[in-house]
């Protein structure tokens, strides 16, 4: 309860901070969600994607 009170008072109470919270939150959420999704997909398909095999073909000195 105390936490949600602080969050409310700090972020949601004023329209300006509320809007900023939403925008920053969207960006953060998007990044976390995207990276989590990619990680799951790459885990599911381990060894099959180009990302996992390209080290076999890239020359060392590059």
């Amino acid at each position: 309860m105390a936490l949600s009170q602080t969050v409310y008072n700090l972020l949601f109470r004023r329209t300006s901070t509320f809007a900023i919270t939403i925008m920053v939150g969207a960006v953060l959420f998007e990044r976390v969600f995207d990276q989590a999704g990619n990680a799951v997909f790459e885990q599911l398909n381990r060894g099959k994607l180009w990302k996992h095999i390209k080290h076999n073909y890239e020359s060392k000195d590059e």
Partner: protein, 307 residues
């Protein structure tokens, strides 16, 4: 209808003084239990007949399909079959090698450019080297003449024949189709192409095959103008994988699947994210629905008769 009406008025009378009237409609004369014995038997027979007829129609429909002359390919356990399974890029790379060393002698892939391979099966440096192996007619230069130059990343795969007529002339009149989208263009997709490549056999007794055609039970019409293109050890893979016939066919089919559907992996990646997103959104939407409906569900409608 009279029975129903009586039923309503009775229940209404009974409840009028205690709670607001609830109109329970009971269609007594429409329920199965109240029918006469003969009608019950007739209705049951009708139901059984209808279900049996539908079943029979379904069975007949399927056996009609099975009587087709051509052999339908089995479904193979491709490593990219799953809802969230990507293509196997090592296999795509080998498949390109097969296409380049075998199929490209007869089949074009005119919608594929060298640059498409970058980041899929080869590094940029490798693809540049591959492209430089071919000669491309370019021009005109400042004197108005065409000239040849080594290929670039942006060039499309070279064609084996300058035009379809030349292709037909070189192949007994049969046109080798462009392979860019072949697995989407044939029923059965890569299962079909795999079966076709590995399915050549002796024609059954009594079937004669014209000169220059080959018997293949998977090809519609069974007589195909393509000579069996692959066999064991037809090439040597650069990664040392034993080049058995089925390995070669599997790799080239994976390559052709990628060629026909380059967005395949991205599509499944997005699908996964859609599922993850729905897993977050659906419970919220469900909660919201329950929340909104609490008002409707818990209201009471009272009837106050005018005084």
């Amino acid at each position: 209808w009279t029975a129903a009406a009586i039923c309503i008025s009775q229940s209404a009378k009974r409840s009028l003084y205690r709670y607001p009237p609830v109109f329970t409609l009971c269609f007594a004369n429409m329920s199965f239990a109240s029918l006469s014995r003969g009608k019950k038997v007739a209705l049951s027979t009708l139901g059984v007949l209808a279900a049996g007829g539908a079943g029979l129609a379904l069975a007949l429909h399927q056996s009609v399909k099975a009587s087709d002359l051509e052999l339908h390919p089995p479904s193979y356990p491709w490593s990219h079959n799953g809802l969230l399974s990507s293509l196997d890029h090592t296999s795509i790379r080998r498949g390109y090698q097969v296409y380049k060393q075998v199929c490209s002698a007869c089949h074009s892939m005119e919608y594929l450019a060298f640059r498409n391979l970058v980041g899929v099966s080869h590094t940029e440096a490798e693809v540049k080297a591959l492209a430089e192996e071919i000669e491309v007619v370019d021009g005109p230069d400042e004197k108005g003449e065409m000239f040849t130059r080594p290929g670039k990343l942006s060039d499309y795969f070279p064609k084996p024949y300058p035009n379809p007529e030349a292709a037909r002339a070189a192949n007994n009149g049969a046109l080798p189709p462009d392979l860019s989208y072949i697995v989407n263009a044939r029923h059965g997709g890569e299962d079909y192409v795999f079966s076709l490549l590995t399915g050549y056999c002796e024609p059954p007794v009594g079937v004669t095959i014209r000169e220059g055609l080959y018997y293949n039970p998977y090809f519609p019409g069974q007589a195909i103008g393509m000579a069996p293109p692959i066999y064991n050890e037809i090439l040597e893979y650069e990664d040392g994988t034993p080049a058995t016939m089925s390995q070669v066919a599997k790799d080239v089919c994976t390559f052709l699947r990628w060629a026909a559907e380059p967005e395949h992996d991205q599509r499944k990646r997005m699908g996964l994210k859609l599922l993850l997103g729905s897993a977050i959104l659906l419970p919220l939407v469900y909660y919201m629905k329950r929340h909104r409906w609490t008002v409707l569900k818990s209201r009471k409608i009272a009837y106050r008769p005018p005084k």
